[in-house]
């Protein structure tokens, strides 16, 4: 029931408590993963409502529910900003070609790409799972990438020209392959889960050249699809960090002694080593460049050296 793909926190959620769609980076693609127990359509609708309230144009590609059902719960101001592209009623275009979108889902996606030319816009894909079942995964990835890129002249992008793509994905329907492929495309990934009737969102936010950040946010959706962020419930909550065992100290249970007591350390320091040279000799050996004109002989007598100056050969009678 817990979806293992990580979630990235958006910048908005890092600061308490602005709503999550604020400050979404340009051209971002954000899939929301849901499961049977924690459904994501309400979150999608809440995000759509937020974008519409910001004055953006919202395009919705509806594949799984009918238009009436999707628009239910929104008031008229939001519904006016919502442009609904219906693939649910007639996905195979059996009725008259004028009514439904021709060409199937791929054409519908590409049409969305061309339509959003003016001002910031949000595209909500009602469900990526439906699209994954009808289109090959690479083609879907390429189309999504084209959607979220700035198609206008590169280098000429105004800050208002951002296109935000929100997608809903039912995790249980897909294997690790498509999930991994879509995750690698996404800027923000939101996985829904929860405990005890309280929904939580694990958000994984990938910034372009920085480490991804992971955050958990508890929330609830009100009947009018506004998003309310909440504090984590304290009762019987099991934040993931508690499940970690305390960090293992590798220096315990060793068969050799890693730590020295004070006496041992003193004994160690006072030991004379066999090849211990004076510091002048050490420095001279370490820096061989200096004083190479003549060769020096360093002699330091050992403890066992016999410093008798007599030549033992004198005793020989030769």
């Amino acid at each position: 029931r817990h979806l293992s793909p990580r979630l990235t926190p958006s910048e908005g959620l890092a600061r308490p408590p602005p709503p999550p769609t604020d400050n979404c980076p340009n051209g971002s693609f954000r899939p929301s993963h849901d499961s049977v127990e924690w459904e994501g359509r309400s979150l999608l609708k809440a995000l759509v409502k937020k974008s519409a309230l910001c004055g953006e144009q919202v395009h919705v590609l509806g594949c799984e529910v009918s238009e009436e059902e999707f628009r239910e719960g929104f008031d008229s101001s939001i519904n006016n900003r919502l442009v609904y592209h219906d693939l649910f009623r007639d996905p195979l275009s059996w009725s008259k070609p004028g009514k439904a979108l021709p060409g199937g889902p791929l054409e519908a996606l590409r049409a969305l790409d061309k339509r959003t030319g003016s001002g910031p816009a949000t595209i909500a894909l009602d469900s990526l799972s439906w699209l994954l079942h009808h289109l090959p995964c690479p083609i879907l990835c390429q189309t999504l990438h084209a959607l979220s890129r700035q198609d206008s002249c590169p280098g000429d992008t105004l800050p208002g020209e951002q296109v935000r793509v929100l997608g809903l994905l039912h995790e249980e329907l897909h294997g690790p392959g498509p999930l991994g492929a879509l995750s690698s495309l996404a800027q923000t990934e939101v996985t829904l889960s929860g405990t005890m009737g309280q929904a939580s969102a694990h958000i994984l936010y990938r910034r372009p050249r920085q480490r991804p950040t992971l955050q958990t946010q508890w929330f609830s959706i009100l009947p009018d699809f506004s998003l309310e962020l909440q504090v984590e419930p304290l009762l019987e909550s099991q934040p993931p960090s508690d499940l970690h065992t305390p960090s293992v100290d590798p220096t315990t249970h060793l068969t050799f002694n890693l730590h020295l007591s004070k006496k041992e350390r003193e004994a160690k320091d006072s030991l004379t080593l066999p090849f211990q040279f004076s510091s002048e000799k050490q420095q001279a050996l370490l820096r061989p460049g200096l004083g190479q004109a003549t060769s020096h002989i360093f002699y330091e007598p050992d403890a066992y050296d016999d410093l008798d100056q007599e030549d033992p050969d004198d005793d020989l009678d030769v």
Binding site: C137, P138, C141, G180, A181, R211, S247, L260
Partner: protein
């Protein structure tokens, strides 16, 4: 026979010709002088191209990967005509760095570049390359880093005192000829360097028309177009020796980003048994053929962690020459493990090629970790916690 030629006209008798030959003390075997080599630059030895050097082990021509530490691990550098495959880390943070180092090294050495990507525009990739460091600023970086690392500079080693001046990974700037430079990741490459360099870009969404036809051959259309583009550049610019009047030989550095990801049209990352499972392997095979017959070196980054079929990963490894894998600790339990706390990830040298050799050229050290500091990407031998001094 040059000897007979110098003897002049045919009016001389054979006997005198022999006599003339013996007086000249010249045998009929003549060393081919500069005259015989024709249109070459006059030297019959190895042509020296900027930014390359011959390997000390097998004489192969090497180029730098942009990271001198990595060059050392690969046996001196990347051989010309081979492929360096980087297995991307999970969140694709560190592999673009290696990619950029390779390209930046190409610009600094004056090589031609070919950048191919399905995700980012090559012009944008080139804008984000790191700036090269001149020698003294690198030394300053090194020293201040060493000072901050050593907390007690007075404690010198007592037994192994001869090693106290030895750096950890022989990381010193190469003071001799220009092979291997250091870069500052926090700064961008100066614009004039990019403008003076010769580069070709391949951005897949621009090259593929919007009509997605069913591919007739077994290669996905993206790969096919890329191969044609590479072949075209190699032929046109004469990297395979096809334009002999070009005086200056140069190296072509090819960089392909995120090969095998769905953005290239390949579904090898999406399903386990896909129809086009041979597309990627065929691409690598043909690419290697193109590289072997031209003066080029290629770096490919591939998201192998997304590939579902493990057999494909093994085939891809066999089809590449040098394979380096990056494993970052983000999101894994190693992040909090005290054994790994100084590093950001592990680097695995999975394969080193045997070029004109019977033995491998691998380094002795297998336990390597990398760390991304503010300005540098360093590769170090991982020190075990148990064996470091406990003072």
């Amino acid at each position: 026979m040059a000897a007979a030629g110098t003897c002049g006209t045919g009016t001389r008798s054979t006997g005198s010709m022999v006599a003339a030959a013996s007086t000249n003390n010249v045998t009929s075997f003549q060393r081919r002088g500069p005259r015989a080599s024709g249109a070459d630059s006059g030297c019959s030895r190895l042509v020296s191209i900027a930014g390359t050097r011959p390997s000390v082990r097998n004489g192969q021509l090497l180029v730098s990967t942009g990271l001198p530490a990595l060059d050392q691990l690969l046996g001196g550098g990347l051989a010309v005509g081979t492929v360096l495959l980087i297995e991307e880390d999970k969140y694709n943070i560190y592999s673009p760095l290696l990619f950029k180092y390779f390209l930046a090294e190409g610009i600094v050495s004056g090589h031609a570049l070919l950048v191919a990507s399905a995700k980012e525009d090559p012009a944008d990739i080139l804008q984000k390359l790191p700036a090269p460091l001149i020698d003294d600023s690198y030394k300053k970086e090194c020293d201040e880093d060493v000072c901050s690392h050593k907390m007690e500079p007075d404690i010198k080693m007592k037994i192994a005192w001869r090693y106290q001046l030895l750096p950890k990974m022989e990381a010193g700037p190469v003071s001799s000829s220009r092979f291997g430079h250091y870069y500052d990741i926090s700064k961008r490459i100066p614009q004039e360097l990019i403008e003076t360099s010769k580069w070709h870009g391949f951005f897949l969404p621009e090259k593929i028309s919007s009509a997605f036809n069913v591919e007739s051959c077994s290669l996905t259309p993206g790969y096919m177009k890329l191969l044609q583009f590479i072949q075209n550049i190699i032929y046109k610019e004469g990297f395979d020796g096809s334009n002999p009047q070009k005086k200056q030989k140069n190296i072509l550095r090819i960089g392909i980003q995120n090969l095998g990801s769905p953005l290239w049209g390949d579904d090898i990352c999406c399903t386990e048994n896909c129809d086009t499972s041979h597309s990627l392997t065929k691409f690598l095979y043909i690419l290697r053929g193109l590289l072997r017959t031209s003066l080029s070196a290629c770096i490919i980054t591939m998201p192998t962690h997304l590939i579902q079929n493990k057999a494909v990963i093994a085939r891809v490894t066999n089809l590449s020459d040098t394979v380096v894998g990056l494993e970052s600790f983000i999101g894994s339990e190693k992040e909090t493990n005290p054994l790994y706390k100084d590093y950001h990830g592990l680097i695995h040298i999975r394969q080193i090629p045997r070029l004109n050799n019977l033995i491998y050229d691998i380094s002795d050290v297998k336990d390597l970790a990398f760390k991304l500091k503010k300005k540098l990407f360093t590769i170090e031998v991982r020190e075990f916690l148990c064996l470091s001094s406990q003072s």
